[in-house]
Symmetry: C2
Subunit: 291 residues, 2 copies
């Protein structure tokens, strides 16, 4: 097992930080660490098919100005070794293993889409490890999903510069234009870019996400087990995991704040990156609200 130097301060950005590796339990995890050396680290859990470079530098770098932020590839994803599991519970085990390998005893989690499902699973099972939880564009177990239809439609738009444009943004000119700006931001890093994922990642991930949504969770056991403060965020017109999931999670969670953005899809956090960062900061730093 390699020993990470977790106490050093990275002044680097998502685009310039070196990719590091930590190994244990048969997996070598790729990650980047940004921000100050002290403070509760915010660990990012990525969406279906995404790698470290699929995060928006505008979000990650802004969050890292006042707290440690860690982006990583879960098992099998990007440049991490191991097998991508086909279920959320196993992904949660892998993510906890990664956090343990970094020697972190308390973290905040930001889970986006599939990463939000993994974050719920972790928070429900690890009350001490997870201080606060941010769930973006995601669904509860047994929630509503339209993944296959929407993915099929997005990938059939061969004129789109990137499937994330129709998948993450609405058809309005404001949303599309912010989508194009987001795509540009993710391309700034040239060297040491993360590896794109193939079907060995996306097939089991798709199965995990669809199974998560298609499996009822009687009595909302997972949401009820989450006692940490939660910030639930969604775009108004998320076509894959609709905003009604966010409202439903808000109502079932014991201590959740809900934020919904207008004219936005699955990538609302990238479209409204400055507002989203402000909301995350306010939530993570709050003494009064659900703290």
């Amino acid at each position: 097992m390699t020993k990470p130097n977790i106490t050093s301060h990275d002044a680097a950005t998502l685009e310039t930080a070196p990719t590091r590796y930590v190994e244990g339990r048969g997996i070598r995890f790729a990650y980047r660490r940004l921000g100050p050396a002290t403070g509760t680290p915010l660990v990012l859990l990525q969406h279906f098919s995404g790698n470290i470079d699929a995060w928006d530098p505008a979000v990650v770098n802004a969050l890292a100005t006042d707290r440690p932020v860690i982006a990583f590839d879960n098992a099998g994803v990007g440049r991490s070794t191991g097998q991508t599991p086909d279920n959320v519970a196993a992904m949660a085990l892998d993510a906890v293993a990664f956090i343990d390998l970094l020697g972190l005893s308390e973290v905040d989690l930001l889970g986006f889409s599939l990463g939000g499902c993994v974050a719920q699973q972790i928070a429900a099972e690890h009350a001490r490890l997870v201080r606060k939880l941010i769930l973006v564009g995601t669904a509860p177990k047994g929630g509503e999903q339209h993944l296959l239809a929407v993915l099929q439609q997005a990938f059939s738009q061969t004129d789109a510069p990137d499937p994330r444009l129709p998948l993450f943004f609405t058809n309005s000119s404001a949303s599309r234009s912010s989508g194009l700006a987001f795509l540009e931001r993710t391309k700034v890093r040239k060297d040491d870019r993360d590896t794109d994922n193939g079907s060995a990642v996306t097939d089991p991930q798709a199965k995990a996400l669809i199974t998560w949504c298609d499996t009822p969770d009687p009595g909302h056991a997972i949401l009820r087990a989450i006692r940490q403060p939660v910030l639930v965020v969604s775009g108004s017109h998320d076509t894959m995991l609709p905003a009604s999931n966010a409202y439903a999670m808000f109502k079932e969670l014991s201590n959740a704040q809900l934020v919904l953005y207008p004219d936005s899809g699955h990538g609302a956090l990238f479209q409204y990156h400055a507002t989203f960062v402000s909301h995350v900061r306010t939530f993570l730093d709050a003494q009064d609200a659900a703290a």
Copy 2:
């Protein structure tokens, strides 16, 4: 008509600012003005039965650190003269008259409860006057209300130090304790306090609010006429005007952000005053979100 000196800077707080008066159209309006001389003024529209001193200094003073904030008594309320109307449309006319008397050509509005109904009416009819709109603990025309039952129950709790404790806060110890702190904050001002309202104010106001909710608005004409950016805020357990109203408004408005707080009632903005102020500031200053 008296001429207000709107360009002077008040360093004062809600507790220390002198009450001013502006007269026109047969009404002498009482108001207090806080904050810097420049910037888009934020005009506060008060809840059923409330006067200027019913605002939370923790909210008003914090908002006034970086923008002009104006609290006032609408016609008939507190120390304003005139008759309190029994309908929202007439209250909106009075509020616009007040804003005109101050010589303001563009404002942001923060409407709480009944004040939120008045704010919707104004924003729908005055696209140029209202830049951005904040709706807290309120309902759309035709929305859901449980006013009489909840008010009756609150005023029957003779052991409560103030009916606003059961009306604005939940039964949790955290919410009650923040409610008591709120009540203390509203009592700090000793001199030049506003006049409490009697039935000449509350009877027509109750009628206005209940009529607003009990009158259908086909095709959500008022919400659809509001083209300004809107921040919709509610407490999770608002017993008078439930949070489902906020979710419904978010879905019908063309450009709305929704924020719901946990474990909170009608007075969520006072319970989570620091978080609420941060959310309001982020919304009013946003360049990216709904701006």
